[in-house]
Amino acid sequence: MNHPTPDNDVSRRSFFQLALGWLAGAFATAASAVAAVRFLVPNVLYEPSQRFKAGKPEDYPDGSVTFLEDERVFLIRKGNTFRCLSAVCTHLGCTVNRANKGYHCPCHGSVFNDEGKVEGGPAPRGLPWFLVTLSKDNRLLVDKGETVVADKYLVV
């Protein structure tokens, strides 16, 4: 160093050198961390579609509650109205079972009534209802991406 400085002082040049070095190091570390985390977040998911066809309305007898295994939903017919209730417990994602009245979760004992409302146990919210529509070829069409209020029916 050309300009001698006191021990506890830093010359302008070495200050900028130090600052640049540390900044470059910090930037490189942060960029690597961000890239690594971003790498781990998938961009494409190979998960089944949220919308599915559930067959013809007349497949379901009047007054029935049908569990559709692959989709983890209950399809409920009352008279000529159709509704679709999620079977995935809002607590920790177990599949609830249909009981004589309402629904029971086997994992942590949450109880839901026929309207999907929480009756007991640790579930923070009721089971969601999904939008049911009728497709052009007269099939029930459920969209699990679209939740609706409990008293919205599809009337056929």
Binding site: Y46, L92, G93, C94, P106, C107
Partner: protein, 428 residues
């Protein structure tokens, strides 16, 4: 000559050109050779040439840390073997497990050993943590090593949890579904964290390959590194904790100061007129054979017990994972059942707040509890407050775990284990 034959053969081998090049020292005869045996061997040099008598007392350490290490080594050995047959694919994983159980020679035994060693390792990490607490061994200058130990405890749980998914049976699938959902309740980042863990929204192929990569390389590599640091610090912090005695310089290490008055050179071994370092010579014994043989004996004991367990009890393997039907009741591994019981009251309070506080308290412990008294003795009277608080926490954990394990039946309803389980009808 009444030396046994194996010893004579060994001595003859270590006197040959090849033997000398490998081992340098034969079977140690003199005090000098005993110390050289420790210092010149890669595997043994982690340990000191001389150890304090107090550290050798089985009643003080109960050998818990060492047992944990042995279980970890056995887990690496058996785990690498299992990798030769296991395929981390939702289509093939379960078949691989069946092959291991019914087709592969010794496959059943090796899988059983891996499973029981994993359970035992979790248990012994906890016991070791308890031993270190009740003997006050986390106090200055060992605060940081306690912190490393807490990290290793969490790492052991993570290793066990990631391994739990791999068989891809009902037990695996639902334990991971429930476990990762608990993570989803963490504030702000919860759902993102769960998505990152699973590589999607549900437990599927992406989750399996992620858990596999974590289980077979990321977490074990981290564990090896941290175990290295843990042992290194045991040496650098002056060996195992023991009661302060007059003339014991090791107990006086100041914060941020390297203990320079303890040397590990060979001059320490000289007796008589040359300087003594640190301790009265009569309190220290040569690691060879006093420490090394005890360690070998303990290792044989661990292997024997594990073999016994693995021969007579099979590791569970339930039906192929079915994302539609959770078993009723669906239970997490035993060490998480206390947590699952808490979660059955509230996912957020039981699953996030309570464990979060507990881990924080564990990590902060040596920096909060700074009194220096009562170190190196079990249940020291001076530490009655700390010991009482800790005991209450431990008892609570045990009670909740027992409730979750034995008193919870279908729909997580209360059952008494000595009564006939109630029959549930499931109407779909």
């Amino acid at each position: 000559m009444n030396t046994p034959l194996p010893q004579r053969l060994w001595q003859r081998f270590t006197r040959t050109r090849v033997g000398r090049s490998i081992f340098r020292v034969g079977l140690p005869q003199s005090k000098l050779e005993r110390s050289q045996a420790m210092v010149s061997s890669f595997l043994l040099h982690v340990q000191p040439a001389k150890v304090n008598r107090h550290s050798l007392r089985a009643g003080y350490t109960l050998g818990l840390g060492l047992i944990t290490l042995y279980l970890f080594l056995i887990l690496i050995g058996t785990g690498v073997l299992l990798m030769f047959y296991y395929v981390p694919s939702t289509q093939q994983a379960y078949d691989g497990m069946k092959d291991l159980q019914f087709v592969v020679s010794a496959g059943l035994l090796i899988r059983n050993m891996h499973r029981w060693a994993a359970h035992l390792m979790v248990l012994f990490v906890m016991l070791h943590l308890g031993r270190v607490f009740y003997t006050g061994a986390y106090k200055q200058p060992r605060e940081f090593n306690w912190l490393v130990g807490v990290g290793l405890f969490l790492l052991t749980l993570a290793l066990s949890f990631t391994g739990y998914l791999l068989p891809w049976d009902q037990l695996a699938f639902w334990a991971i579904t429930v476990g990762t959902s608990i993570a989803g309740y963490a504030p702000v980042v919860g759902q993102k964290l769960r998505f990152l863990m699973l590589g999607g929204h549900t437990v599927g192929q992406e989750a399996l390959i992620r858990f596999y990569a974590l289980h077979v390389i990321v977490l074990p590599a981290l564990a090896v590194l941290m175990i290295g640091v843990h042992f290194w610090r045991v040496r650098k912090d002056g060996g195992l904790s023991r009661p302060d005695e007059p003339g014991d310089v090791v107990g006086q290490v100041e914060l941020g100061q390297v203990p320079t008055n303890k040397t590990y050179g060979l001059m320490e071994l000289a007796q008589g007129t040359t300087p003594q370092v640190g301790k009265n010579p009569e309190d220290e014994v040569f690691a060879w054979p006093h420490l090394v043989f005890r360690e070998l004996l303990l290792f044989l004991l661990v292997v024997a017990v594990l073999l016994f367990l693995a021969i007579f009890w099979n590791a569970p393997l339930e039906e192929f994972a079915n994302p539609i039907h959770p078993p009723n009741p669906a239970k997490a591994p035993w060490y998480f059942l206390g947590l699952q019981e808490l979660v059955s009251y509230s996912a957020f309070w039981g699953g996030v707040v309570v464990p979060g506080l507990l881990v924080t308290a564990l990590a902060a412990l040596p920096y909060l509890d700074r009194g220096c008294r009562g170190v190196g003795r079990w249940f020291a009277r001076e530490r009655i407050v700390a010991n009482t608080v800790f005991t209450i926490c431990v008892l609570a954990a045990i009670v909740f775990t027992l409730i979750g394990s034995f008193f919870r039946g279908p729909n997580w309803g209360w059952v008494e284990p000595w009564q006939k389980p109630p029959v549930v009808t499931e109407g779909h």
